[in-house]
Symmetry: C2
Subunit: 346 residues, 2 copies
Amino acid sequence: MGRDPHRVLDVPPAPPTLADVAAVAGVSRQTVSNALNNPALLRSDTLERVRAAIDQLGYSPNRAARNLRTRASHLIGLRLTPFAEGTANATMDRFVHSLVQASRQAGYHVLLFDGDDPTDPASGYDELVRSTAVDAFVVTDTYRGNPQAAYLEDASVPFVAFGRPWTPAALHPWVDVDGAAGTAAATSHLLDRGHERIAWIGWRKDSPIGEDRRAGWSRTLHARGLPTTGLASRVEDLVTSGREAAGVLLDEAAPTAFVCASDTLAMGVLHQLAERGLRPGHDVAVVGFDDSPVAQVVPGGLTSVRQPLEEVAVQIVQRLGKLIGRRERFGSGALLTPRLVVRGSS
Amino acid sequence: MGRDPHRVLDVPPAPPTLADVAAVAGVSRQTVSNALNNPALLRSDTLERVRAAIDQLGYSPNRAARNLRTRASHLIGLRLTPFAEGTANATMDRFVHSLVQASRQAGYHVLLFDGDDPTDPASGYDELVRSTAVDAFVVTDTYRGNPQAAYLEDASVPFVAFGRPWTPAALHPWVDVDGAAGTAAATSHLLDRGHERIAWIGWRKDSPIGEDRRAGWSRTLHARGLPTTGLASRVEDLVTSGREAAGVLLDEAAPTAFVCASDTLAMGVLHQLAERGLRPGHDVAVVGFDDSPVAQVVPGGLTSVRQPLEEVAVQIVQRLGKLIGRRERFGSGALLTPRLVVRGSS
DNA sequence: GGCGGTGCTTGGATCGATCAAGCGTCGCGA
DNA sequence: TCGCGACGCTTGATCGATCCAAGCACCGCC
């Protein structure tokens, strides 16, 4: 109150402090603090009075002061993966939305950053940890063995991974989507439609996620006694790669359907079909992975495996909460099941 | 140093503080502070010594403490717009990336949030301002008159808008893309290819952005003495709306080309063409707006107007810097020119 | 009348960096 | 030799919330 009695009109008024609220409510600072952090300690009429004062002044506790004292920032760090032009996979957008929402409900905000050196997986994390700018991280780009997880683990920084740890020794909590279950559902769906020669276009062998998704396809075919040899291709995650792979497969193995590790690859297949005058969903079926906007709006529609990103976010935030509160170093994993969204391409 | 001589091994070591660095370097706290914020004040040998100590300890200044003292957070707030399923417009993703990158270079991080009440345009901003959690905002969803800009202006919260103020009284800094120039380029491009009956599919009349983009189309046609009557349609930003509008226009006005206010609408046109067996780029040309991933990967490719979002972000951050440093309330605007990306559909 | 408990106050320290003033040293000119 | 100013560094106070310990007023109960 009245810290600046000769206030110049031009200067925005300083926000009220705890002491201001206390003065208005006619109680001590400690009581206001308790009203916020430990309301059970107050008599109900006092609590009411304090809350009225808070509303009247439009008071919100100063974040910096609270953070300094409690050694917590209530921020969750998320490093953006380098933006890939020309691919269909806009998974990040949906995931970020879900994460922001789930975080808010848990009293957290999301801080975005990117590495100044994109080739260094630890870049960016370091400084945020040391300056105690965030309480924990969500690590997403676990596509190739996840080097930053190892770094964060020995720096004993709390984090939850979106993606299984593909190295056996890892102990951190994680949430992931069962890719194999998704491609298995896709394959079963195609089998139900009468397809028997179903091809796979996936990622290079060193991608654990790619191999996981591939397993769902091959497992399902084998279960029905159908062969997979000659029907699989592993390429880069590019539209052109998918197009070429589809061309080769069509020429050499004459599949009637494709299951792909991503919507990007599936779009490549659609390119190939368009070039040959084959109609997706009639002549050849195609299933993608991620249910990207592209799958949703491409003419005819692309059948695709949709990850439950909203649920992933909720589960991640749950684990973050546990991690931050108590100082547990371990954590549990959760494997969620995706859902097949059927559209015109199958 | 040695704040906890009986350190338990399980507990992560507390990060070093300014005082720790000072002790190692044999100087006072203030000198270390100056080494970071005002290196010119130090004698070069002292500076060297302090820097060595900083490196040795892996010191980064505690954000909370700095924020408390300087009354700044070095965070920029960005409210996510509600996620629209089934549309092509993934502009946000690219913009967020660009913003994060530009912010980092200016020493800022991006804090994401969303309104707990999506219908209230001011929701979410309020609390962040009062708790001094962010220094400024970037306001993006200025599509319909931008009610939160008015709110932020009276609350005298620093912000920069991505999007022109459509109300004349507004004084805040802004950065925008010249939509009319984009659609004009698209229309000229089509004229150059020999089209004369060029249709427009845009948004409802109450969208200033939509009307701006429409103006580029009509202006260009009129300049060549070509009519626009009967060739325009205004609908919701949905694929199905675009499809229907294209159907009506084809039946009633027989255009040979379409310019659309968004890639979503353009995809609708492609749907309509596919249904009629017309080939985009051969029988009928189509141009979209935003250069979304969809435009990039759809078979045949969709010609589209690409916004220079990287440059937008840079300009926004520049203005944020000015706003935050000095307490200026005014700010300048910048109108950037988009670029037409030509693909198979035209 | 004494006793315990509830509900609040008081005074202080604390988190870690920055601000503002102060102080010693050195060089230079009078 | 003394005074003066500049340079380079130090010292104490401060930002606002939280945490802690102690204490006090008031109430009801035995």
